[in-house]
Symmetry: D2
């Protein structure tokens, strides 16, 4: 079975939940580094297009059930007084919710800027096991 | 004037045309490296969303008059027989037309995969000087 | 404790092993998208410098115990007959071994191009629990 | 001549200086987007390795005579009190000097964070025509 070739590479002791957590991390790490450095400005059409474009890309990856990107509009540079007044996507404005489904396990994970840590934290909010 | 601060950094001997060519190169170099590695698959909605998202981003940059991305659908992996059958954007599928306007000069530039060079060539097709 | 703030965001039911798997995925996803699109050519000094540079970057991330990047020299374009004969890093040449340590768990993970899948597979080779 | 195929794509009216300016822009745009988002911390060995790695990569591109990256150490996060105290490369710390040689023209160009513009300005400092 082609679809099982990948399993021969994984540690035999790895549980389905652990594999699902691993796949979730891969997608968030990828999402973050694809978004970083993309030019943006405080214009709803532009922000929305970028969100939809990168959501479409991430949705192609294995085991992605859903992905919703919600860039923090409050923190995107506002005035366009000169040609140079535009902004770039960094961890401070990236917020996303990802659902990964691997076999019977669904993981709900997020990335959000945590002010107390001054850090774009990626975390697993929920693990759901379907019978 | 804030909008002229940038000029004090440039060589005094640089013509408007030369500056326009420089700005054009910056945008194509950025466009290329933003696109590279983005996941994609042979699905018109997905391809279209990615194109629109990155066009929106590039249009924020200084002096960009228009940007049209046209990924080469013929070269994007087609079948979705397993979770791993998706593709990634590389220079082989990137095609775009950019128009930069700097003062009185407009530059029409392109990026396209040139089979004879096996290379994603970025080139200036036209320089238009408005009176 | 600042170092525990992050835990309040994670699902209470997540095991240490699962968290370690998640963190491992994040680093591999990041590594892959940082590498993709970087120019390279078949010159040992250049390849080595790029490997060391990106290893240094990844080693800054939380819970990374070690990272070794080993780009596949056999697949990097060889001849420099024209200015355009250079290559770019893609999944076909990326090979790396990462060790993540999260509390009492160490994960050995790899990324490698799997010819049968035509895919740059990221996988967990070993999970080691220290007493 | 393979090395002249590229010229047939360019506007016939483009001068050697203009082409050189265009090529310079491409490299700076690429450099910037390759660097953005790379993890870093205030450790001289790590900073130096990243600089050398990306210099090696950029030096592969056509017409690059030299490239020197000098990340602004003053602005990189210093304390490593928790796992999350590391930084990421953004436009605020990127400084580089690039020399492009296209036929008889050499361009000296820079990227630097300009505080008055709050912008990572890419500019051409000097154009040198060799007889």
């Amino acid at each position: 079975m082609t679809e099982n070739i990948d399993k021969i590479f994984f540690s035999a002791g790895l549980s389905i939940r652990e594999r699902a957590c691993f796949e979730t991390g891969i997608k968030l790490g990828a999402l973050y580094h694809i978004l970083c450095g993309i030019p943006i400005q405080s214009d709803e059409n532009i922000i929305h297009s970028i969100e939809k474009g990168i959501e479409a890309a991430i949705s192609c990856q294995p085991f992605v059930k859903s992905i919703k990107i919600d860039l923090d509009r409050e923190k995107i540079l506002r005035n366009k007084s000169t040609e140079f007044d535009y902004d770039e996507i960094t961890g401070k404005i990236i917020r996303a919710e990802l659902i990964v489904k691997y076999e019977s396990v669904e993981i709900v994970a997020k990335i959000d800027w945590i002010e107390d840590l001054e850090y774009p934290l990626m975390y697993i909010e929920k693990v759901i096991e379907k019978p």
